[in-house]
C-alpha cells in the first residue's frame, strides 16, 4: 500500500513537471459549481456580466469597477447562450441591478444544443447544489490553484484520447474539437488569455483555426425534412426575440438596466459571423424589440481598433485597455437605459 502510494505520487509529480514544461500553469476550471458560487454573490443592485466567452475574456473587472463604481459579478459562460441566464435574472424578483450582456448572434439565438445546455447546466447546478458539492468545490479550487495538471478541459484522460490523430469514416457526423488550453481563471471567474496564445505560434494557430468549424452551421439533420427543420429554426429565433424582450422588460420594470454589447471579433471568424448572422437581421432587431441600448464595437473607432490574436478574444493586456475604453460607453448606455 505504501509502495503504491509513493509510486503514484512520483508519477503524479512527473506528470505535473511535464505539463508545466508544456506551458500549463495552475488555474481554476470553469465549472458549474464556480458559476453557482458567483451567482450566489449577486446582490439586488449588482452589476452582472452575462453571455459568452467574449464577455468572459474581454472585460476586466477592476476597470469596470473603477468606471461604474461597483464590482461586477462575472457570469458569462464560454460557449453559451446568454438568454437562460438573462431569464434567470429576470425571474429573480429581488434583482434590479445592471446587466451587461454579450451577444454573439450564433450563440444568443441558438435554439438549443450545447450553447443553451452550458447555461442550463450552470443554472441547474445552482438551484440544486448540495452542501457536499459546495464543499467539494472549495477543496477542488484549492487543489487547482496549486496543481497544473488539473486542467480538466485539456489534460484529462478523455481529452488526451481525443487528441489521438485517428481519422474518422467518410461522412461521419462528428463535431469539431474544442480549442485547446488558452486561458487562466480566478475565483471571481475573471478569464485571461494565456500569453502563449497572444503571440503567433502553434497554440494560437490551433485555437484560431478551431473556431471556423465550430462557428460553421452543422449540416441539416437527415431525420427531419429540410423545410420543417428550417421552419422550426426560424420559429425558435422569433421566440428568442420575444423571450429576450420579455426578460429585459421584467428587469427594467423593477428599475434594472440591460445593455447589450457586441465584442470584437477578427479575421476569418468575423467574416464568417457577419455572413451567417448579419447585423441587421439579429443585432439591430434585438435592440429594437427589447428597447435596450447596445454597443457594437465597430461603431466606435477606439473599440474597433482592437485585434483578437486568435480571432475571437482579446489578449489579457488588451482586455484591460479595451474595458477602459468601453466603460464610458457603458456609462452612457446605462444612463439611457432608464
Amino acid at each position: 500500500m505504501l509502495a503504491t502510494s509513493l509510486v503514484t505520487l512520483a508519477l503524479a509529480a512527473a506528470w505535473e513537471i511535464k505539463c508545466r514544461s508544456w506551458g500549463y500553469a495552475p488555474t481554476l476550471n470553469d465549472t458549474p459549481d464556480l458559476w453557482a458560487m458567483r451567482r450566489n454573490a449577486v446582490k439586488p443592485d449588482s452589476v452582472v456580466i452575462i453571455g459568452d466567452s467574449r464577455a468572459w475574456f474581454d472585460l476586466d473587472l477592476d476597470e469596470v469597477e473603477r468606471g461604474l463604481g461597483s464590482r461586477p459579478v462575472q457570469l458569462a459562460i464560454p460557449g453559451s447562450c446568454a438568454y437562460p441566464v438573462l431569464a434567470d435574472l429576470a425571474d429573480d424578483k429581488s434583482f434590479h441591478g445592471t446587466v451587461i450582456c454579450s451577444v454573439v448572434p450564433i450563440m444568443f439565438f441558438a435554439p438549443g444544443g450545447p450553447p443553451v445546455q452550458n447555461s442550463m447546466d450552470a443554472i441547474n447546478r445552482r438551484r440544486a447544489q448540495t452542501v457536499a458539492q459546495k464543499a467539494s468545490n472549495e477543496i477542488g479550487m484549492f487543489l487547482e490553484e496549486h496543481i497544473a495538471f488539473l486542467k480538466e478541459d485539456d489534460l484529462t484522460l478523455g481529452e488526451l484520447l481525443n487528441r489521438l490523430p485517428i481519422p474518422n469514416r467518410a461522412g461521419a457526423l462528428v463535431g469539431p474539437p474544442l480549442p485547446p488550453y488558452f486561458e487562466t481563471e480566478d475565483r471571481e471567474r475573471r478569464a485571461r488569455m494565456a500569453p502563449q496564445c497572444a503571440i503567433p505560434g502553434p497554440l494560437q494557430d490551433r485555437v484560431k483555426y478551431g473556431w471556423l468549424p465550430l462557428f460553421t452551421p452543422p449540416p441539416l439533420p437527415t431525420y427531419i425534412p429540410r423545410d420543417v427543420f428550417l421552419g422550426g429554426m426560424a420559429q425558435a429565433v422569433e421566440a428568442r426575440f420575444r423571450d429576450a424582450a420579455s426578460a429585459v422588460h421584467r428587469i427594467r420594470a423593477r428599475g434594472g438596466k440591460v445593455v447589450f454589447v457586441r465584442f470584437p471579433v477578427s479575421g476569418e471568424l468575423r467574416k464568417l459571423e457577419d455572413q451567417a448572422t448579419p447585423r441587421t437581421g439579429r443585432w439591430d432587431r434585438l435592440l429594437k424589440d427589447t428597447g435596450a441600448p447596445g454597443i457594437y464595437f465597430t461603431d466606435y473607432p477606439e473599440l474597433a481598433s482592437f485585434t483578437c490574436p486568435e480571432w475571437s478574444h482579446l489578449s489579457a493586456s488588451d482586455s484591460v485597455e479595451f474595458t477602459h475604453l468601453l466603460v464610458p460607453h457603458l456609462r452612457q448606455a446605462i444612463g439611457s437605459a432608464l
Binding site: 500500500m1 503504491t4 503514484t8 508519477l11 457536499a132 467539494s136 484522460l157 461521419a172
Partner: protein
C-alpha cells in the same frame, strides 16, 4: 455525498481515522451513525428525517411482530410494515407515474382528467434504504432474524453510509450480528478495502464516465436512424457503462465497509460471462435478485405449484424488478424481457435435460455470448427514454432502418470495442472464481503495479463528480 467527490475523500479519511482511534465500541457505532446521517444529509437534510422515520417505524413494527401472540397478529404487523414502506416508496417514486397512467386510461374511456403534477423530489436512494429497512421486518416475521432491542443499532444497519444510497441491499439479518462485537483492525483487510475502493472508483470514473458514457449518450440521444456499427457501439458502450457504474459503486461500498471492519456480500459476480438468464440473475445485482426471490418469488409459491404457476411467478417478479428500477414502462419491458427469457430457458432445459453437448466449452461460450447479446437488446429499453427511441435503436442495430447516420468517431468506436473486449475477457477468465481469490493468486508486484495504474488513471481522469446511474433508482 458521492464516492467520486473530493469531499468524500476528506469525509472518509476523517471517519476512518476517528473510528479506529476510538476505543469504545459504543462510541464507534455512534460515530458511524452520525457519519451516515451527515453523508445522507449532505444531499438534502430534510430527507434524513424521512430516512429516520422509516427506520423508526420498522424498528417498532419489528418488535410488534416478535411480540405478537398469534399468527394473524404477526401477519397483520408484517403487512403494516410492507404497506407503510411501499406506500412511501409509491408516493415519492411512482406518484406521478400512476397519475399519468390514470389520465391515459381515463382518456381512452372518454373521460378528461388532468391531475396536477406532484412536485415531489425523489429522495436519493429511497429504493435501496426502503428495502434495507423492509428486509428487517420481513426477516423477523420469517423467523430468520431476531428483533434487535437497540434502535441505534437498527438505525445504523439501515443507514450505514457505504451501502445507504445505491446498495448492495444489505439485510439487517446480515448486518446486525456484526454490530454485536467490535471488529479488529487488520492491516491486510484495510489494504484490501482501500484496493477495492480504488477499483470501484476506477470502474466508475475512468471506464464508465470517461471511456464509455460519451458513445452511449451520443447514440441514445440521437434522434435519427443510425448505421448498425454506431448503434451497436452505443449499446455495447451502455452495457459496459451500466456495469462499471453500478458494480463500481458496489465495489466501493464493500471496500469502504471492509475498511471499517464490516463484511458486505458481493453484488456482482462477472455477469457478462453468464450462460443463460438464470445464471445472469445470480450474477447481476445479486442483493436485489435474492431479495425478490426470498420475499416475492417464494411467497408467491416459487416453483412449488407446477411449471405454469412458476412461469407466472417469474414474470411477476421480473415485472416488479423492472418497475423497481424506475417509474416508466420501458423499465417494465426490460424486466419482462428478462422474465420471458428465464421462462424460455426453463422450457429449453426441461426439453433438453442435462444434455452432454451443453457442457462443451464451445456451446457454453456460444450460449454465453448469446446471453450477452440478448442482455444488450434488453438494455436498449432500460436506457431509452421512450419506446419510439428504443425501436429506432433496435432497428438500427438490425440494419432495418435503411441508410442511417454515422455519428461516432473512429477513436470512440475503437475505445468502446477495446473496453468491452477486455470486460468480456475478464469476466470469462474469472467467471468461476471471485475477485479476492483471483487477486490473491497474483504476485504482489503485479498487484501493486495494477493498483498504481488505477490510481494514476483516476488522477489523470479527475472526474467531474457525475452521479452514479443507480442513484436515480
Amino acid at each position: 455525498m458521492l464516492f467520486n467527490s473530493l469531499i468524500f475523500v476528506v469525509f472518509f479519511s476523517v471517519v476512518l481515522a476517528a473510528y479506529w482511534g476510538l476505543r469504545s465500541w459504543e462510541t464507534r457505532k455512534n460515530l458511524l451513525l452520525v457519519a451516515s446521517y451527515v453523508f445522507y444529509g449532505a444531499w438534502n437534510p430534510p430527507f434524513a428525517l424521512l430516512l429516520f422515520s422509516t427506520t423508526a417505524l420498522d424498528f417498532f413494527l419489528g418488535s410488534r411482530i416478535a411480540a405478537a401472540k398469534g399468527p394473524r397478529a404477526r401477519k397483520g404487523w408484517m403487512i403494516a410494515s410492507v404497506t407503510s414502506n411501499l406506500s412511501m416508496l409509491g408516493f415519492f417514486k411512482y406518484g406521478n407515474f400512476a397519475l399519468d397512467n390514470t389520465k391515459w386510461c381515463l382518456a381512452h374511456l372518454g373521460v378528461a382528467y388532468n391531475p396536477p403534477h406532484l412536485g415531489v423530489l425523489l429522495p436519493i436512494g429511497i429504493s435501496f434504504y426502503t428495502f434495507h429497512s423492509l428486509s428487517y421486518t420481513l426477516d423477523v416475521y420469517r423467523g430468520v432474524c431476531a428483533p434487535t432491542r437497540s434502535l441505534r443499532d437498527f438505525t445504523l444497519a439501515v443507514s450505514f453510509f457505504p451501502q445507504l444510497v445505491a446498495g448492495p441491499i444489505v439485510r439487517a439479518a446480515d448486518f446486525l450480528p456484526q454490530l454485536v462485537s467490535p471488529p479488529v483492525l487488520r492491516p491486510n483487510q484495510l489494504s484490501w478495502g482501500l484496493c477495492m475502493m480504488t477499483l470501484g472508483m476506477f470502474e466508475k470514473v475512468v471506464l464508465a464516465d470517461t471511456l464509455l458514457s460519451g458513445s452511449a449518450d451520443a447514440v441514445f440521444g440521437y434522434k435519427g436512424t443510425l448505421q448498425p456499427l454506431d448503434a451497436w457501439t452505443g449499446v455495447l458502450a451502455f452495457s459496459g457503462q451500466i456495469f462499471f457504474d453500478f458494480a463500481g459503486y458496489s465495489t466501493c461500498a464493500i471496500g469502504a465497509a471492509l475498511c471499517l471492519g464490516f463484511h458486505l456480500k458481493d453484488n456482482f459476480r462477472f455477469p457478462y460471462a453468464a450462460v443463460g438468464f438464470s445464471d445472469f440473475s445470480r450474477r447481476w445485482h445479486i442483493s436485489l435478485s435474492t431479495f425478490l426471490r426470498d420475499f416475492l418469488y417464494i411467497p408467491l409459491g416459487g416453483n412449488r405449484r407446477g411449471p405454469a404457476r412458476a412461469a407466472i411467478n417469474l414474470v411477476i417478479v421480473m415485472f416488479i424488478g423492472g418497475l423497481w428500477h424506475g417509474a416508466a414502462w420501458t423499465f417494465v419491458v426490460w424486466g419482462l424481457i428478462h422474465g420471458v427469457f428465464l421462462m424460455m430457458e426453463r422450457i429449453f432445459k426441461a426439453v433438453t435435460g442435462d444434455a452432454e453437448f451443453s457442457h462443451t466449452l464451445a456451446t457454453r461460450l456460444l450460449l454465453g455470448l448469446g446471453t450477452y447479446a440478448v442482455v444488450c437488446f434488453a438494455w436498449v429499453f432500460f436506457r431509452a427514454s421512450t419506446f419510439p427511441d428504443a425501436a429506432r435503436i433496435l432497428k438500427s442495430m438490425l440494419g432495418a432502418a435503411g441508410h442511417g447516420d454515422a455519428i461516432l468517431g473512429t477513436r470512440a468506436i475503437i475505445q468502446v470495442g477495446a473496453v468491452i473486449a477486455a470486460l468480456l475477457l475478464a469476466h470469462w477468465t474469472m467467471r468461476d472464481s471471485d475477485l479476492e481469490s483471483t487477486v490473491a493468486r497474483l504476485p504482489r508486484v503485479l498487484i501493486a503495479t495494477i493498483w498504481t495504474l488505477m490510481l494514476s488513471a483516476i488522477l489523470l481522469t479527475q472526474g467531474s463528480g457525475n452521479a452514479f446511474i443507480y442513484f436515480q433508482f
